[in-house]
Symmetry: C2
Subunit: 384 residues, 2 copies
């Protein structure tokens, strides 16, 4: 436990929540986009028609109709899923944590991207994981580095194939197949974090890594937090039925089950056919904001810094020339009213001091333009 410390991002969000900052720091979507009226209508319907069950204890594995519905959704992503393969969790964070708790012994090794999702790394840290890190390029995780990492006999591989947090990068189809086969061949567990799957602005959906090779210890994690609302805390995992039984036992000792009321709201939201148009609305808004951010970066910082061009998700990753430290930059930025997350904290393998993460889904288009103006000024001054 000594390795679990406060998340730099969460501390930053707390510090800046009260102020008038333009925030590129958090993973918080703009709440103006949440379907408040629809959730209110459904909350009322659930309590009117099914109120007693909605307030009662429920099964550890989740509300059966929701498990069936998620299974159907995941068959569309190439996964051979039935209800028995699904466990409902409090967001995908709990799916990750349960999987790690079941599949990783203290001190064992984890193969993962460098940089990677901070709260997953913290979950690994809590089990005293050792890291075997793989670099990223425009095609996502560089799989050429995989054989060397697997030779170190890790217990688990962790990947975010779509619009990775923090870089926004997407793993190519070819590399997905390579990764899936190499992991299965090595006989180790695979943890696929696909929280951003539906937030694709362009291009075709790629098959999930878990779908590309037979692996009895493959766990696929997803969520409704990005496509309905995070405050409901409904996510899920998909795995072999026998592993889901095991994870359900663990879920039970962890917190008995995910909320009966909120699971029913999410189920009805999907059942009414509101999910697809809801996703389109999120994507349209996020795509416009991404475009504004990319245009502003191009106008202000071309030839000065590099950045990713994500096909979806929530984040753009900026790389300054070697030797420049974004941690020092943050202080300047905050003094002028903007916040971002310095990239070093996302690097379980170290490095990344010259990188930073920009979220494009919190601020409005106007504020993004204004904020990138300020950021560009700070960067240009520091490089001068």
């Amino acid at each position: 436990m000594a390795r679990v410390t406060a998340s730099a991002i969460m501390e930053l969000i707390k510090t800046t929540a009260g102020g008038n900052y333009i925030s590129f720091a958090s993973g918080l979507p703009d709440p103006a986009l949440f379907p408040v009226d629809r959730v209110r209508e459904l909350a009322d319907a659930v309590l009117t028609e099914d109120g007693r069950a909605a307030l009662q204890y429920g099964p550890a594995e989740g509300y059966p109709p929701l498990r069936a519905l998620i299974a159907e959704t995941l068959r569309g992503r190439g996964l051979a899923a039935g209800p028995e393969n699904i466990l409902i969790t409090n967001g995908s964070q709990q799916a990750l944590d349960l999987a790690v708790r079941a599949l990783l012994n203290p001190g064992e090794g984890v193969v993962l991207e460098n940089p990677s999702y901070l709260a997953a790394v913290q979950a690994f840290d809590s089990y005293e994981a050792r890291y075997h890190v793989l670099p990223l390029d425009d095609g996502g995780m560089v799989t050429e580095a995989l054989p060397a990492a697997l030779a170190e006999r890790p217990a688990l591989a962790y990947t975010l194939p779509n619009f990775q947090n923090p870089t926004g990068l997407t793993l190519t189809g070819e590399r997905r197949a390579e990764l899936a086969e190499a992991i299965a061949g090595a006989g180790i567990a695979l943890l696929e974090d696909d929280a951003y799957h539906d937030l694709r602005f362009e291009g075709d959906s790629l098959p999930s890594v878990c779908a590309l090779a037979e692996n009895p210890r493959a766990v696929y994690c997803g969520t409704l937090s990005k496509t309905i609302a995070p405050g409901l805390r409904v996510g899920y995992l998909c795995a072999e039925a026998s592993l889901v039984v095991r994870l359900g036992q663990l879920k039970q000792i962890t917190d008995l089950h995910t909320g009966s009321f909120t699971q029913r709201i999410v189920y009805r939201y999907c059942e009414r056919g509101w999910l697809e148009p809801g996703i389109r609305a999120f994507c349209e808004s996020y795509r416009r904001r991404r475009d504004v951010l990319l245009e502003a970066l191009a106008a202000e910082l071309t030839g000065i810094v590099r950045w990713t061009r994500p096909a979806g998700g929530m984040f753009v990753w900026v790389t300054l020339p070697e030797g420049h430290h974004t941690g020092a930059l943050l202080e300047q930025a905050m003094r002028r009213g903007i916040v971002f997350v310095p990239g070093a904290s996302f690097h379980p393998g170290g490095g990344g001091e010259n990188t930073l993460r920009l979220n494009f889904v919190s601020a409005t288009e106007e504020k993004i333009r204004e904020g990138i103006g300020i950021l560009s000024g700070v960067i240009r001054e520091s490089l001068a």
Copy 2:
């Protein structure tokens, strides 16, 4: 993880949920008592007045007004609590699990009552705990046995002082002070599970064990599951501020935070002054059901078996003469349409094959009478 297996109770609940059994087995309250209309009114108010925040991510430690309100409640139980001492969790089960995860290393010892709460024992099991068990009598945990247990250098003591699950027994005031001082004196962690605190039908409330001695690693766990509704999954823990910071970091990697929407519903429910009358309504109904159960046992089984007379909570504990096995009895009982939980599974220290747990809050008074009639027949036949 190999030690975590399916809960016998949960499996039983699944098996019998579809059928026409009279259930004394589960810990599920009668859903007819849930305040469905009030929750619907509040769900609507929360989404109308505070909808965006209710659907947004929130702080790991919980919704600040709810933390303050719980702190105020706990000051009434003798705990020196401010908002900084409170962490909001998904029911008290998660409070237990987080505390164990932070305070117990694999293989360390736990002092606890024998029998004890099954899902807590399973959480301890998941950390490969060793057990030092203490017997119970009518005054709760027998503290005379404590010095010998503490001499074995355990890391943590776990107790349910009020209307213990599974026995219904309450720890006396004198023993609470003894226990608190002995634990603090030994310098080990104290985990107090007070999930049933408000379900007191008679007699005065006793001070919490955590309030009776200075202990920097004392964690007090409670819940709104028994006093509003379990399906909302809102519980809490109370501990020293620095420990709450640590547990908040752990909560974050576990599932980020407890639902923003449901926390706000619970907060408003309390703020409107509905909690106290709600508790009175639960207690009146549960007290009547307990009385019906105790009267039926007295009429049918006096001199044949022994049972506890709980001053609150949800459970009565029945002890058959030595040498009789309630596991074998269950089969007979189920054939005639009733279910209970055989007591052996609640015993981390072994024993209890001649005991069983009866829940008196699931079935109606009429069904309780009918069910105890059946149970008495089965018991008398088996003893004949």
